[in-house]
């Protein structure tokens, strides 16, 4: 009887250590994704308007979801080989660490703690997010200083909490902060008048205003609290996957820079105007195999979701109901901060 137990205990130990060894020493995540034939990407618990929202038909859409689709297309050839896992702001890092998701595309600010102590690795910023404050117009505020003593609502556990604290401390403005776990509760608190203002990411504020029962009652104040570069996040050590992410983002930017769109990509592929574009679209082989994916990945991505500008326009820009100006998220030659890498 005793032997049975020792046998069981040994089996349990072997099972546990064995499972972990496969994860720790086995193939990289990129290979795992290819074998699985599906990419696990972050969604949101509820809707984060403009970035990850569920439409009336129950399908995910938004700026971040488009990047998930772009990655699924780059790695697996089709935007449908994507599984969107709804996670809250707080769950996103544990979900990545435990392998519930492969990548975090969830406007995640690049902070030092996350980059080092959490064991995360960031892609180049794919979005530059300025933080603003949106207040009720009836308060007559022209700047944040006019909101002295007011209640500011924020998303709990995000960088906004810190950014607002720092800004208010540096300006010596007294205020009261109220943090909500879910975007829906935050919005209804603002609409009900529980808060005088909300602080947050510019796009989120515009989306919140559009959703309001009376959008004209709110205004985004001009003061910028801080600027936050947002990156796509993978676990430390998944270099192959990170390379694919960086070059996919770069391909989207290069496509916009060269005027390649979803509509004309076939035409341009048939008759590439320059050697670089020939490489980008996989007419001249090489750019994909180096990354361990197909050579025409950029073509597939552009065919599936369009270039960076098209994604922006469709989800948060002029083509959407949020009408968010491109601002800093424009190409370098259009007054923005974004640029493609060199494709040789």
């Amino acid at each position: 009887m005793k032997n049975t137990f020792i046998g069981l205990a040994t089996a349990a130990l072997v099972a546990l250590t064995g499972a972990s060894t496969a994860q720790a020493q086995g193939q990289g995540l990129l290979d795992t994704i290819i074998t699985r034939d599906s990419l696990l990407c972050t969604g949101h618990n509820g809707s984060y308007l403009g970035f990850a929202e569920v439409d009336a038909a129950g399908a995910w859409q938004g700026f971040d979801i488009e990047f998930c689709k772009a990655l699924a297309t780059a790695i697996l050839g089709s935007p449908n080989k994507l599984q969107v896992i709804p996670v809250s702001w707080a769950q996103r890092f544990p979900a990545l660490q435990s392998g519930d998701v492969d990548v975090i595309v969830k406007v995640t600010g690049w902070t030092q703690t996350r980059d080092t102590e959490l064991g995360l690795q960031y892609s180049r910023p794919y979005f530059i997010g300025p933080f603003y404050v949106m207040a009720k117009k009836e308060l007559g505020a022209t700047g944040i200083a006019d909101l002295e003593g007011g209640v500011f609502c924020v998303n709990a556990g995000t960088t906004v909490e810190r950014v607002l604290t720092d800004y208010m401390a540096s300006k010596g403005i007294q205020y009261e902060s109220l943090a909500f776990e879910k975007g829906e509760e935050l919005r209804s608190a603002l609409y009900a008048g529980r808060c005088d203002a909300i602080a947050g990411f510019g796009p989120f504020l515009s989306a919140t205003r559009v959703e309001a029962p009376d959008p004209e009652a709110y205004q985004i104040l001009g003061d910028v609290l801080a600027l936050e570069p947002e990156g796509i996040v993978v676990r430390q050590g998944e270099d192959d996957l990170l390379d694919v992410i960086n070059w996919t983002v770069s391909a989207l930017l290069m496509a916009e820079e060269s005027g390649i769109t979803q509509a004309n990509v076939d035409e341009i592929k048939a008759n590439p105007p320059s050697p670089t574009i020939a490489r980008l679209l996989g007419v001249t082989p090489g750019v994909g195999t180096r990354l361990g994916i197909s050579d025409d990945f950029a073509y597939n991505v552009i065919k599936a979701v369009g270039n960076y500008g098209e994604i922006y326009d469709r989800t948060v820009g002029d083509g959407s109901r949020y009408k968010l100006p491109r601002g800093l998220n424009n190409l370098w030659n259009q007054g923005g901060l974004l640029y493609p890498l060199v494709l040789d």
């Binding site: 137990f5 002295e148 909490e161 604290t165 943090a179 776990e181 509760e185 008048g193």
Partner: protein, 377 residues
């Protein structure tokens, strides 16, 4: 060896120790594997983050918390917030539950109807919906500038504000002393001193306290009360009962009271009819029968399920996170997101709730041991 195996005692011992060793090994290997995988991913572990400052504010706390407080201090504030709302819930829900239970067992049809309707309505709606409902109601009150004023009390969507006494530390000491002395005076058995003497003693003590407060420990011209006044966007002065706290408390109390009512009712009904009739036969009034016979006997019957309910209600305070009340769960959740120390913080979360709930069940079990009929287990 064969003789050893033949002994039933030895076999049982071997079986049990083998089982314990096996469970121990599984737990140990899980911890080791977890630790190694975390290290392999380059994630920092340990509790050193508790010493770091948080950099984010907390909206409601009974101890002073700023963005410069350490994680340890902020977590402690969260635990206190949970205990504050939790213990107030237990107290108020028990009182309300008792009243409703008396309604339900009374012979008056209208009272019975009120009790039954209450229980059916509040027991059958999920607690989070009830909390949302009260929160929506409270936040849709007028803004501070159009606040409702009931004398000195101000009601707006920023909460209920009422004047507070501006007490210094010395004042508080006098107040404490006065309360203790009054209590002591009331505690002296009536048959020794007579009721008149007791009450006059208490009266003199209270009067002395107020005189002391007014005369000696107050700078001339300093107001005795701080009254809420509109200043810019907010009210300054007085005490504010915030909507988050109020909505959570109201929701939990009304929900908990429905369950507690049923537990108390069950306890009251379990009391043998003969004992009540015996009391009446001895000439006790209805109130005396309730106080001396029915309630003491009922308490014995309902204490175990009441303990269960108390522990459950304490855990239900975690719905506070949904409406922005910074309870222990909400603070831990935000801390996880800011530091990424998921496992450590979840361990602290569990430890906190085990501590609170074990204390409740420990105290309740002591009471149960004390009052149960001796000789029965």
């Amino acid at each position: 060896m064969t003789r050893l195996l033949a002994s039933q005692k030895f076999r049982r011992l071997a079986f049990q120790s083998g089982f314990i060793v096996c469970v121990g090994l599984v737990v140990l290997s899980a911890i080791l594997v977890g630790h190694r995988n975390i290290a392999a991913q380059g994630i920092a572990t340990g509790f050193s983050f508790l010493e770091r400052t948080t950099g984010w504010p907390v909206n409601f706390a009974v101890i002073p918390v700023t963005a410069g407080s350490t994680y340890a201090w902020v977590l402690w504030a969260g635990l206190l917030n949970t205990m504050l709302v939790g213990f107030l819930t237990l107290l108020l829900a028990t009182l309300l539950g008792l009243v409703l239970a008396l309604f339900r067992v009374s012979s008056n049809t209208l009272m019975k109807l009120v009790g039954t309707t209450y229980v059916e309505v509040f027991r059958n709606v999920p607690v989070i919906l009830q909390v949302f409902f009260w929160y929506a109601l409270l936040t849709h009150l007028p803004s501070p500038r159009e606040a409702i004023r009931l004398g000195v009390v101000v009601l707006s969507n920023r909460g209920l504000m009422f004047p507070s006494a501006t007490l210094s530390g010395a004042d508080l000491l006098i107040l404490l002393a006065a309360v203790l002395m009054t209590g002591f005076a009331l505690w002296i058995p009536a048959r020794r001193t007579g009721a008149m003497l007791r009450w006059s003693l208490a009266g003199v003590l209270l009067a002395t306290f107020f005189a002391a407060l007014l005369l000696s420990f107050r700078e001339i011209g300093e107001p005795l009360w701080s009254v809420p006044e509109l200043k810019g966007l907010r009210f300054v002065g007085g005490i504010t009962l915030k909507p988050e706290f109020a909505a959570l408390l109201i929701g939990l109390v009304l929900f908990g009271a429905a369950y507690i009512c049923e537990i108390i009712r069950g306890g009251l009904l379990s009391v043998d009819r003969g004992k009540l009739e015996a009391g009446t036969a001895l000439g006790l009034t209805g109130f005396q029968v309730n106080r001396l016979i029915r309630i003491p006997l009922a308490i014995r019957a309902m204490l175990p399920s009441l303990t269960n309910q108390y522990v459950w209600l304490m855990k239900a305070t975690t719905v506070g996170i949904a409406i922005g009340y910074p309870d222990y769960f909400a603070i831990v959740s935000t801390s996880i997101n800011q530091t990424g120390q998921t496992l450590e913080l979840l361990a602290l979360l569990m430890a906190g709730f085990i501590l609170i709930n074990y204390s409740i069940s420990f105290a309740m079990n002591r009471i149960n041991d004390h009052i149960k009929i001796k000789g029965r287990s």
